[in-house]
Amino acid sequence: MSTETESIVTASAGSRSVRRELRQVRRAEGGKIPSTAGRRAAVRRETAAGYGFLVPWLIGFLGLTVGPMVFSLYLAFTKYNLFTEPEWIGLDNFVRMFTEDPNYIQSVQITLVYVLVGTPIKLAAALGIAMLLNYRDRGSGFFRSSFYAPSLIGASVSVAIVWRAMFSNDGPVDNSLSFFGIDLGGWVGNVQLVIPMMILLAVWQFGAPMVIFLAGLKQIPQELYEAAEVDGAGPWHKFRNVTIPMLSSVIFFNLLLELINAFQVFASAYIISNGSGGPAGMTNFYTLYLYKRGFADLQMGYASAMAWVLVIAVAIIAFILFKTQKSWVHYAGENR
């Protein structure tokens, strides 16, 4: 045991001394032409190795991300149906979108409602339950796993089918609400209830942000709570003045991620409405409408324009979040 560690120590000490020697040799040669050439060769070797390792990623990045982005930006200004050549029509797609297509406007509206109402509720649920889990350690592992499970399967077709069945007329939800004297009927076909139903499906998947919140909560030093208590702070003040500021970077991260994800809800809306976006277009979420325009109607130019509006919207949201983070996000080690 001891000899082994010893040999490791001497080995590492040996390598360290070798390194020192090398450095000395290099320093001694510094300025001379052969060493610069040698260093240049080393740099070249590193560059070759770097790009060598990146070959698969680079092909994917250029061929399947950047290239397609450029092409779709071009398509956004054309009329294109996959079979004939794209025809340049300038800004017509964008003009049509915002002035002549009520379905588009509705799609934007319901998507915004879904994102802006659903995401805060989901994050509030995630934070609330995370704090509850953080209260005691014993048994919290089981609860954490149970709460996390829906996040893994929430986007699947199976769950969308279950959701539709649960919220159908005389289904489990309707039935339990009737028990309390609330008779709403089926949510699926109801113009007013179908978005709340979709939001509930999103909130049900609070587990992923919850796990992130929980990891953040565990890193808040207990001394801060003790100090707040000495100052006579109650639970609300501790939450407001310790938990929230200490967790702000995690809140920021979750908010950014969940907002962007929420914009891209697709499979559940497709399955719940049988691909129609109904009733009355109330599940015609942005990406579902984009899919229908692009692949059912083969208006690929129009769909590309829609996709770019989405990219710009997401970029603006990310930009606003990053801009405002200075005023409310505190990172550890920073002076406040």
Partner: protein
């Protein structure tokens, strides 16, 4: 004196409890009561959260005719008919075929993602070369990119290559590390590994390929496992990809086959739809139960270092 000893320990433990200046005995009691309340509240939440899954599972034993009258959990006339019926499959394709297709796509995706992401992550984390900063920033940028902006050109591309209705459009991108999430996850993991080992190997004359395979790869196993599990689950659940690219029923993976059930039978055969929906979730649930440690750790580290 002994009566003083025991409560003192409690005082230390309860330093954070509100009202810790009251009598120790009552405090212990209150702590127990709080724990019980905590447990019951969480149990209630668990019941609500898991109810849809339990309902689905038990519904697979309900005859289709029972769905309209019995929205409850327990089947009145439990039967295995739904399962025997769905095994035959739909659209002339047996059920096992959809499972096999899903497994094939998911496993190829796992192999591709893990390999290509690990290679890229090593370059980003360990090799210093001109342009690495810019490329890394670009990679992070793709994390936030709504992928809908590239599906149309990608479709046009794969259509030109005559690869529509094959698995290539679903698998090839995975071998090219297009899931930036995993590259990022592995980069973070490699950065936490001390450099001493690879520097020592370097002085012994090992190149990047040697260092990658014999030093880094064995050390990043947990990150690779996390990436593999997430890739499997996401690919297994993926609906849009196969919806766009796969047209022949015998090539359908499960989510698309499920849509067939949903469209064809939702008005009449709830039982069959429920049974297939449940069966499609089984592999994920098994994965989850076996690997939950890795999944939760993966999510947590990703969040805190992001």
């Amino acid at each position: 004196m002994t009566t003083f000893e025991a409560p003192r320990v409690e005082v230390v433990e309860n330093a954070l409890e509100p009202g810790s200046s009251t009598q120790p005995r009552r405090r212990v009691k209150r702590r127990t009561i709080n724990t019980v309340i905590w447990f019951v509240v969480l149990l209630a939440f668990t019941a609500i959260v898991l109810y849809p899954l339990l309902w689905l599972f038990l519904s697979t034993f309900k005859p289709s005719s029972e769905f309209a009258q019995n929205p409850g959990l327990i089947p009145e006339n439990p039967t295995f008919d739904n399962y025997t019926k769905v095994v035959e499959g739909i659209a002339g394709t047996p059920l096992w075929r959809f499972f096999a297709n899903s497994f094939f796509i998911a496993i190829m995706a796992v192999v591709g993602t893990v390999l290509s992401s690990a290679l890229a992550a090593y370059a980003f984390a360990r090799i210093k070369f001109r342009g690495v900063g810019v490329l890394f920033a670009a990679m992070i940028g793709t994390l936030l990119l709504p992928f809908h902006v590239i599906i149309i050109p990608q479709y046009v591309l794969f259509n030109k290559l005559e690869l529509v209705d094959t698995y290539w459009p679903l698998i090839l991108p995975k071998f090219l590390a297009t899931e930036a999430f995993f590259v990022f996850l592995i980069v973070q993991f490699i950065r936490n590994i001390p450099r001493d080992m690879d520097e020592a190997a370097r002085i012994d004359g090992a190149g990047h390929i040697r260092i990658f395979f014999s030093i880094i790869l064995p050390l990043i196993k947990p990150a690779l496992i996390t990436s593999a599990i997430f890739t499997f689950i996401w690919t297994w659940n993926d609906f849009l990809g196969p919806l766009l690219y796969i047209n022949s029923p015998e090539k359908y993976p499960l989510p698309i086959a499920l849509r067939l059930y949903n469209d064809a039978t939702s008005t009449s055969d709830y039982g069959a739809t429920a049974a297939v929906s449940f069966l499609a979730l089984v592999p994920i649930l098994i994965f989850f139960i076996v690997f939950q440690r890795f999944l939760v750790a993966g999510v947590a580290t990703q969040g805190l270092k992001g």
